[in-house]
């Protein structure tokens, strides 16, 4: 029974993957379970660039509520976390900065024209099926061009509307409650209408007071005080609906609408002796997207995508004695088409072209109402054999910017290549070598270009060159160790024309400029292992480690060659999960080494290393056609007091209880 569920689950994930723009990598054919497991849990094994996957099964094990929490378990990732449920969480891949991270939600990228950074805290995990991290690029050449236009991408895939063949409809309901008045009910309904049509709808509410206690340490002094993180309340609503259908001509259509509303307090930095905090933010986001794909003859596949996105932010700046409201609006129209040509079983070519219109407006007195047309084309080729993969891609970007006020029309074109290679040199040795080179342009955001105190319309795109060299091994040792994989990658990133905000004559007057060079050198290690003690007990172990050296290479810089702020040399994470007959138990932790918040390396800028441990217990009960899943979690077990961003304390020990019902 359990094996069947597992198999269904895996097949279903395959269907999901293949139904959405990944036709060319995953071979859908009936496989034995072990084989499927291999393909799924180690896609990095075949790819030309490092890849990581977290399935919904594993997401449950690491007790995470938000996507950003899950990403902390990937090597080479730095999550900038301002603490709490409502605190901003952005993700930087290999110290490139959050603007190099694309977030692909069910096949299409999520955009932000104002800051270029996506808050990954707002994506909940309840209806997420899988999260993939691709450093550099993935080898899926048949997908929208924008998905691969940045230094790396996080693909969030939600549950498809498709049901297992034996089910007509399904209801899932869950409720989680936890410390600081956290309450999180969710509901998902899926239905199959006839052999070709299905749809689902899911809703979620998240409420928390978030006023966790923390110990305030006053600099390097012995002074301590007990404080609370006030004004941290969060109220989020999310609705999502998906439909999928198949036409008689073989064409498949996926449709999705997403609505998100958030109202939360922004507690801000902890300021000594001044506990006042009153800033608020209310956010709304709605988008609709459609994906259509069809095959012509045997050789051609075609897909088209369309998306409309609207988001608004209502920000209340509050100093107590003065309150001001700032309103920001963004909208985007996005069309994409891609054609795949399969020359033979192993050789294929694709061309993808995206046209995007985005604009930004606000109630700011110096608002210039910028809009941008972004035209991205990608020409790619892939040669793939069982022991050899070669992916080549050329990306071309045209950007046209207009201002409704002022006349700074800004047009530019950039060309950036990708070259990736993966090879298994010896047929009977399960070692695969991989290497990639990628060139990426990070476009200035509207905030960068038009909303600094001295706007700089001449700002150029920032450029990064990424190099990676690594290997991976996947093997098994008898019945006891059915699966073991290890990968190691060494990387080198060279960033130039870095976009930084620089004060001009005081902290008040600043401008955003292309200034500085950065070299990033690092190593990522990843180990995954499954051990079966007997039929009923099994253990799964995951471990990740990252070493990085991030150096300021700005000519004439006083700190030339020195480490950049907020870049720990050592980071790591781990997960051990025990599968037992009476319950499943998972133990997980993340670690970050010491770092500094500026380049001077003075004691006052030092930030201590930290480790956060967590433990969770889950139990599934099945009765007739109903399934109940109970979970109990303890986060930050050792009640570690730490900060990721200076003066933004993270929550201490907390608890969560959850129950999930599936019918």
């Amino acid at each position: 029974m359990e094996n069947r569920i597992l198999l269904i689950f895996f097949c279903w994930t395959l269907v999901l993957q293949s139904s959405f723009a990944q036709e060319d990598t995953v071979k859908v054919r009936p496989l034995k379970e072990v084989e499927i497991r291999k393909t799924l849990s180690s896609p990095s094994y075949l790819s030309t660039a490092p890849t990581q996957t977290l399935s919904s099964e594993k997401l449950k094990k690491i007790s995470v509520l938000q996507v950003s929490d899950a990403l902390k378990y990937f090597p080479g990732i730095q999550v900038k976390d301002y603490g709490g449920v409502g605190g901003l969480k952005t993700v930087s891949i290999r110290s490139l900065g959050a603007n190099y991270t694309a977030v692909v939600y069910d096949g299409l990228t999520v955009s932000d024209y104002q800051s270029g950074q996506i808050d990954l805290g707002r994506f909940s995990l309840d209806n997420v099926e899988q999260i993939n991290l691709y450093i550099g690029e993935n080898d899926i050449i048949f997908q929208p061009a924008r998905n691969q236009a940045l230094g790396g991408a996080i693909y969030i895939t939600t549950q498809s509307s498709k049901l297992p063949a034996n089910k007509k409809r399904e209801i899932k309901a869950s409720l989680q409650a936890g410390s600081w008045k956290m309450l999180n009910p969710t509901l998902l309904f899926r239905q199959t209408i006839g052999p070709t049509l299905s749809w689902n709808i899911s809703g979620e509410y998240l409420n928390t007071e978030g006023n966790y206690p923390f110990i305030l340490t006053y600099g390097q002094s012995n002074l301590r005080s007990k404080e609370k993180r006030n004004n941290s309340d969060v109220r989020n609503w999310k609705w999502e609906t998906n439909g999928s259908g198949q036409f008689k001509n073989g064409g498949k259509l996926l449709f999705k609408t997403y609505y998100f509303h958030s109202n939360r307090g922004l507690p801000g930095a902890v300021i000594y002796y001044n506990p006042y905090s009153g800033e608020r933010m209310s956010e709304q986001n709605i988008f609709s997207q459609a994906h259509y794909t069809q095959s012509f003859h045997d050789r051609f596949d075609f897909q088209a995508n369309a998306k409309f996105n609207y988001s608004s932010v209502d920000y209340l700046a509050d100093q107590g004695f003065s309150k001001q409201r700032y309103l920001y609006y963004q909208k985007e129209f996005y069309l994409s088409a891609a054609l795949l040509y399969k020359q033979s079983k192993s050789l294929s070519f694709s061309f993808a072209n995206d046209g995007i219109y985005g604009d930004f407006s606000s109630n700011l007195p110096n608002g210039v109402f910028p809009s941008r047309i972004h035209w991205i084309s990608a020409l790619a080729g892939k040669y793939e054999k069982s022991n050899f993969t070669l992916t080549v891609r050329m990306l071309n970007q045209w950007v046209f910017e207009r201002l409704r006020i002022g006349q700074a029309d800004k047009n530019f074109r950039r060309l950036s290549p990708y070259l990736g290679l993966s090879i298994q040199p010896l047929h009977n040795l399960p070692v695969r070598l991989r290497a990639f080179y990628k060139n990426t342009y990070r476009l200035p955001t509207f905030a960068d270009r038009y909303y600094s105190s001295v706007p700089n319309p001449n700002l150029k795109p920032e450029n990064a060159n990424q190099y990676n060299l690594g290997f991976s091994i996947v093997s098994a040792f008898g019945e006891r160790i059915p699966y073991i994989s290890f990968s190691a990658d060494a990387y080198y990133n060279k960033v130039k024309n870095k976009i930084v905000a620089r004060p001009l004559n005081s902290m008040v007057i600043w401008s955003v400029q292309n200034f500085g060079k950065v070299d990033v050198r690092g190593i990522d290690l990843d180990l995954k292992m499954q051990m079966a003690l007997n039929d009923r007990f099994s253990v799964e172990i995951n471990g990740d480690y990252t070493y990085q050296n991030v150096q300021d290479k700005t000519p004439q810089s006083e700190y030339y060659g020195q480490h950049l702020p907020y870049t720990p040399r050592h980071t790591g994470s781990g997960l051990i999960s025990f599968k037992m007959p009476w319950a499943d138990c998972n133990y997980h932790w993340i670690y970050s080494g010491e770092r500094y918040d500026n380049q001077s390396k003075q004691p006052s800028s030092w930030m201590k290393s930290y480790a956060e441990h967590g433990i969770s217990l889950t139990k599934t009960l099945a009765w007739s056609r109903y399934r109940w899943n109970f979970s109990a979690e303890c986060l930050n077990l050792s009640n570690e007091q730490y900060e990721v961003v200076k003066n933004y304390p993270m929550p201490g020990r907390s608890f969560r209880l959850g129950v999930k019902f599936i019918y």
Partner: protein
């Protein structure tokens, strides 16, 4: 943009240098021994970074040549966030810490902290004290919440409060009157252009009558002879800043020059200043000037300007030795203080805290 507005709100650089040295009179809290300014040493206020709780006071001892990076007592109770202004009056050193919303008082002889005066209103909303001046036994501070407060130097308590314009900045006292620059800073209708006048005998403002000055008035400073000099910053875009003079007898305002716009000190009939003219491409045009308040001519006072590495952020003068002090900053890392002799030659260089901005000599 959010960052910009917050910076605008909280990040005004400080300059109000030891006005009491020239303009104050002895109050009810007289110095226990006669203070010879510039004989012992200099306190350097390091503003710290925005939201970073790393304001500090460094002390450079002239007698031993020793630099003490952090003042005594601040290791057990750190200053907090955004050191804004500092002055010596009588036997005490007063410091406003703006984001932390308090005024810290230190004993001048022992350098030990005496008191932290939290500046909050009745609803526990921070007033955020900004600039300081002294007059007749009292210390006055402008507060971002649109008030000026009076601090009794003997009891070290706030014993008076008066409403002025929005986002007040520089403050100066002369002849029973207090002058407060209403910058308007981050108010809804942009920067303002007035100076409020407060009668110090009644501690009541002369509102609604205000003196109209340049846009975004910033630093006020009395020459002790009946004139209040002020800089204004403009809107940082189309309207540029400049230097003006208020005649305290008839409140008339006279335009003097386009520089300084921010930081200056008055010493013996001259205003010493630095000015940073920025362009889009960041190449900053930095000048150091000496403005003759009577002759209205400009000359330079530093010959060794190449010695200053980053952007100047603070200026001071040792009245005893006539040495000039220039502090520089790169806004994130610790800054330096450069000491020039009266001929303008660099004679020393000190590594201090982040964003050094203020000097107090004694």
């Amino acid at each position: 943009m959010k960052k910009a507005t917050e910076l605008l709100k909280k990040g005004w650089l400080c300059l109000w240098i030891t006005s009491c040295l020239t303009s104050c009179e002895t109050g009810p809290e007289p110095a226990t021994e006669p203070v010879l300014p510039g004989n012992h040493g200099v306190f350097i206020l390091n503003q710290g970074r925005y939201n970073a709780n790393n304001a500090s006071i460094s002390y450079y001892n002239f007698e031993t040549g020793e630099l003490q990076l952090d003042m005594i007592g601040t290791d057990t109770e750190p200053l907090g966030s955004l050191g804004q202004d500092m002055l010596i009056y009588g036997s005490k050193l007063y410091v406003t810490v703006s984001s932390s919303s308090n005024i810290r008082v230190f004993d001048l002889n022992s350098h030990r902290p005496l008191k932290r005066i939290d500046v909050f209103d009745d609803n526990a909303i921070p007033r955020k004290p900004r600039y300081l001046t002294s007059y007749n036994g009292n210390i006055y501070a402008s507060c971002s919440d649109g008030h000026a407060i009076r601090l009794d130097t003997a009891s070290l308590t706030i014993n008076g409060i008066v409403a002025v314009g929005e986002y007040p900045e520089g403050i100066a006292a002369y002849n029973e009157k207090l002058y407060v620059a209403n910058s308007g800073g981050e108010s809804e209708d942009g920067p303002h252009n007035t100076v409020s006048v407060i009668d110090l005998l009644t501690f009541k403002s002369e509102e609604p009558n205000r003196i109209t000055v340049g846009l975004n008035p910033y630093i006020l400073r009395s020459d002790g002879l009946g004139s209040i000099y002020l800089t204004y910053q403009g809107d940082f875009a189309a309207i540029s800043g400049g230097f003006q003079k208020i005649n305290t007898s008839d409140y008339s305002v006279q335009y003097l020059a386009s520089s300084p716009k921010q930081d200056f000190i008055i010493e013996n009939g001259f205003a010493y200043y630095f000015d940073v003219v920025y362009t889009l491409e960041s190449t900053t045009d930095i000048t150091y000037g000496k403005y003759d308040l009577n002759g209205k001519t400009v000359s330079s006072f530093i010959s060794d300007t190449g010695a200053i590495k980053n952007i100047p952020y603070g200026i001071g003068i040792n009245s005893y030795t006539k040495d000039f002090y220039i502090a520089d900053s790169d806004w994130t890392n610790p800054g330096k203080v450069y000491i020039f002799n009266s001929e303008g030659k660099k004679i020393n260089e000190l590594n201090v805290g982040i964003n050094p901005c203020k000097f107090a000599f004694y």
